[in-house]
Amino acid sequence: MTSRREFLQAGLATSAIMAGLGVSNWSRAMAQQALTQDQLLQFDDFGNLTLIHVTDAHAHLRPVWFREPDTNIGVGDAAGRVPHVVGETFQKMFGIAPASPEAYALTYPDFEALAKSYGRMGGFDRIATIVKAIRGSRPDAILLDGGDTWHGSYTSLKTGGEDMVRVQNLLGVEAMSSHWEFTFGTQRVQELIEKCNFPFLGANIYDVEWDEPAFEPYKIIQKGDLAVGVIGQAFPYLPIANPKWMFPEYSFGIREERMQEVVDELRGQNVDLVVCLSHNGFDVDHKMASRVTGIDVILSGHTHDAVPEPVLVGETIIIASGSHGKFVSRVDLDVQGGRMAGFRHKLIPVFSDVIAPDAEMASLIEEIRSPYKADLDTVIGQTDKLLYRRGNFNGSWDDLICRAILEERDAEIALSPGVRWGASVLPGDITREDIHSVTSMTYGQCYRSEMTGETLKTVMEDVADNIFNPDPYYQQGGDMVRVGGLSYSIDPNAPMGNRITDLRLIADDAPIEPGRSYTVGGWASVNEGTEGPQIWDLVEEHIRKGGGTQQDGPVSSINVKGL
C-alpha cells in the first residue's frame, strides 16, 4: 500500500520532471523566439479536480509593470527558504535562465530592460481568457479569489470597490477571502457582499462584542461527485495594521484552534477535499500547515509571493500566486477516498502581449473605466528612472513619495507605509492612474505632526518586529515603514527593541536625539480623524513641479546588518 506521503512525493517529483510544463518551458519558448498563448496555457489534465487561484490583484484591472523584490529577508526557520529568496538565487533555485521570460516575471534583475522585451503582465481580460481555457478542458474547475481584490486603484476608490465585484462576478469567482476589503468600512463591505454571486468567507472573523463567528467560515462546493470544503481565512491582523474604527464590529486573529475546529467539522461532513483560501501570508500559512491537521491545499495570499512550485508541509501543499494579476495558479488534484492523492501545478504567468484579451471582460473593464478615462490617463509628469515599491525597505517610488511629503508638508522626517501593493513605472510619463496604484486608499490623509526621537525609534522598532519576529504568528506581512530624511541601520535578527541603530537626519547627518521633537509628515494613519491633504494629491503636486526627475541627494539611506 502506498502512503499518502509517498504519493505526494511522487507528485512533487512528477512536477519536477514535468518542469517542461511550467517554468523551463518558457525559456525554451524564448530561445525559439516564440512565446505563445498555447504554451503558457499548456497543461496535461491530471486527476479529477482543478483549482484556479487568483489573489491580491489590488484592483489592477489592466496589465501592469511589476518589479519583484530585491530584498525579502526571512528570519528564524524561514531564512533562505521560499519566498525569502530573490534575484539570482531564486533563478538558480528554480532553474530559471537569466533574462528569460520567467526571470522577468519572477525576479528583479534587469527588470527595466526585460520589461521592454516582455511587456506588461496581468489584466483581468487576460485572466478571463486563462480561466475560460482551463474551464474548457475542466468544466468543474473551482475558481477561488484570496482577497485584496476590491482595493488599490483609482476606479476601485471611485466605485467603492464595486468595479471589482462586477469583474469577479463575470469571471465566475466561487468564493473569496479578505483584507483591504474592510477598509471600505463595515457598511460598504456588507453592501458589496450582497452584490457578490459567491460567498465571502472568513472563519477567523468574529463579532467583537459576542466573541462568536461573524461570517460564513466555509462553503462546501459540490463538483460532480466530489464535495470540496473551502475555508476562508481573512488577514489576521486587520484591526492592528488597518484602521479598526472602520470595522469596529469585527475581531480577527490567526485563531489556529478555530481553523482546526472548522477543518474537523468539514471532515465530519465527509468532504473529499479541504482547501484553505488564506490571506494569512506565506510564513504564517507555512506554520499553520505544520500545526493544523487535515488541510489538503492552502491557497496562500497576502504576502504577494509568486512561488513556481507547491511547497509541501506535512501532508498539505501551499500554493502562492503572486499579486497584481501577474499570475494565475492552476492546480490539478487527484482526489481519492476523501484525500488528495496527487497533484500537478502550474503558476501561469499572465504575459499581456501573449495572452489574448477576453472580449466580454475587456468590454466590462472598458465600461468601468470610461467615466474616469480622462482622469486616469492624465500625464502628471515624468520620471527619469524606474519607480517601484516592492522590497523590505524603501523602493524608488517610496523615495519619491517621501520626498513629496518632506517638501510639500515642510517636514524633517517623512513616514510612508510599508505596503506591498503598487505597480512599477518605467522611465517616462507618470499618469494619475500610476500615482493611485501606489497610494489609493480610504484613509490617505497626509498628516503633519511632532514626534520625539524616542517615539520615532519606538515606532520603527515596533514595525520591524511586525516583519522580522522569528515566530511567523507574530508577523503582519508588510514591509518596513518607508522613511524620508532619515538614515538608519537595521539588524533583522536582533531582538525587539535592538534592531534599529544609528538613526540620523540626512540633512545634517546629526543623530536623532531621543528627547528632541521632530516635525514628521506621513500618511495612512490608523487613527480616526487624521487631517491633511490626500496623499495622491500631494504626490501629484510634487510631480507636477518636476519631483519625478529631481536628483539632489538621497532621501533615505538604510544599512542592513547581521545577515
Binding site: 461570517f215 479598526k244 475581531s251 486573529g253 501593493w421 515606532v459 514595525v463 511586525n466 507574530y474 503582519q476
Partner: protein, 148 residues
C-alpha cells in the same frame, strides 16, 4: 445561513437568558494584593510545589492584541479544581483565580483583561490530585499601522 447572536438580538427583541456558570470567580483575591509579584502569587497558589509545563491546561490568547485595553483570554483544564491566571508584566499581575465546584460541567473560563505591554500570560491549574500544571502564551501589544 450563519445566525449570530448580534443578528438575533437585533432581529427580535432578544429573549436573553444568561446561563449561570457554576464557576466562582474571585478576581478580587488576585487583584487585591498589588505588592505581590507574579512569582510570589504562583508560589502561594502552588504552595511551593512545582508546576510542570503540560497539555493539562490550555490557554487561548491572541498572538497580537487588537486592543490592549480588552484582551480576550480563555483557559481550560479538564478535571481542574482551580486555575490561576497571571499577567506577568502588568503592574498588578493578578488577573483571576477560578474555582470550580463539584457540579461544574467543564473546567473552563473566559475573561477580558487589560495588558500594559507585551508580555507572557501564565495559567496554572490545580488538578484534582493536587498536582499543578502550567502553560504560558506571549501576547504582543503593538502600535501597528503599516500592514499591507
Amino acid at each position: 445561513m450563519l445566525i449570530s447572536r448580534r443578528g438575533v438580538l437585533t432581529a427580535s427583541v432578544g429573549l436573553v437568558g444568561l446561563a449561570m456558570l457554576p464557576v466562582a470567580v474571585r478576581a478580587q483575591d488576585a487583584a487585591a494584593a498589588p505588592a505581590q509579584t507574579a512569582d510570589e502569587m504562583i508560589a502561594e497558589f502552588t504552595g511551593g510545589a512545582e508546576a510542570v509545563e503540560g497539555d493539562g491546561v490550555k490557554l487561548t490568547a491572541p498572538e497580537i492584541a487588537e486592543n490592549g485595553n480588552t484582551v480576550p483570554l480563555s483557559v481550560e483544564a479538564p478535571g481542574a479544581a482551580e486555575i490561576l491566571l497571571i499577567a506577568t508584566e502588568n503592574p498588578t499581575p493578578g488577573v483571576a483565580r477560578f474555582t470550580f465546584g463539584a457540579l461544574a460541567a467543564n473546567q473552563a473560563a473566559a475573561t477580558r483583561i487589560r495588558l500594559a505591554k507585551t508580555q507572557d500570560i501564565v495559567a496554572i491549574a490545580k488538578l484534582a490530585d493536587g498536582s499543578f500544571v502550567r502553560t504560558a502564551a506571549n501576547v504582543k501589544v503593538t502600535i501597528g499601522g503599516c500592514g499591507g
